[in-house]
Symmetry: C2
Subunit: 137 residues, 2 copies
């Protein structure tokens, strides 16, 4: 079962995925800040493990489709078309929550992921560590 924000009627408490809630403002969707290309970055996080799976971009249409269908839809910058995640691979992302940040220019999408999120077969796209050279504390 997917519990949407409207159904939770939450106010000032923690959601099932551990994030703080503030009162839902119906006008928030209209006030989102898309960039000069009409896009907003979306961080996708697995609701169960809280692993960050990937970051992709949405335009207004893909966001509306995501909210309406309950599955992530992005805008492919390379192919310049809507892209339902997992449409060919079957690795769909069922949406549990969508949250905007304080500046309303970035989204966080909590999902139930089917199969690996990454096209390489990795659970998460973030599998390449960079070298920290800072001194140990």
């Amino acid at each position: 079962m997917v519990v949407g924000i409207q159904r939770e009627k939450t106010k000032g408490h923690e959601s099932m995925t551990g994030y703080q809630h503030t009162e839902f403002q119906p006008g928030e969707l209209a006030s989102l800040k898309f960039d000069a290309n009409g896009l907003i970055p979306a961080v996708v996080q697995e609701a169960g493990t809280l692993a960050v799976l990937m970051v992709a971009w949405m335009n207004r249409e893909s966001l509306e489709l995501t909210l309406k269908t309950g599955y992530t839809v992005f805008w492919s910058r390379s192919r310049q078309k809507l892209w339902k995640k997992g449409e060919t691979s079957g690795c769909l992302q069922r949406v549990r929550e969508v949250r905007a940040d304080c500046d309303a220019d970035t989204l966080l999408v909590l999902v139930d992921q089917t199969g690996p999120a990454c096209h390489t077969g990795s659970t998460s796209c973030f599998f390449q560590p960079l070298p920290l050279t800072s001194p140990e504390e």
Copy 2:
């Protein structure tokens, strides 16, 4: 103690923060893809709770400072200057890991956060839920 990637000598196993590792490639830093403005988005995740705290942007210099100092440094697009997170508020982010995604065009930074990450006083910047209108399953 902060355990950097180089110190872990990990290969194909899970790190202390639960993410899969692949072998570290020394050339990865040079192969990162910065956008037309010389920036790369960085998702900041709390290492302990795995909450996504914020998304900000880095240029090459701020990334190098982050890796070298062990504290997050970003590029402020609004102020057009380097911005050490928490420099004025004291809400510093000690870096545990920095990871690139499969396309090398997005970063994930795992941190120990001092105080709230958000300038509003919220633990995470992602506190504004959007309405899901999809049918329940």
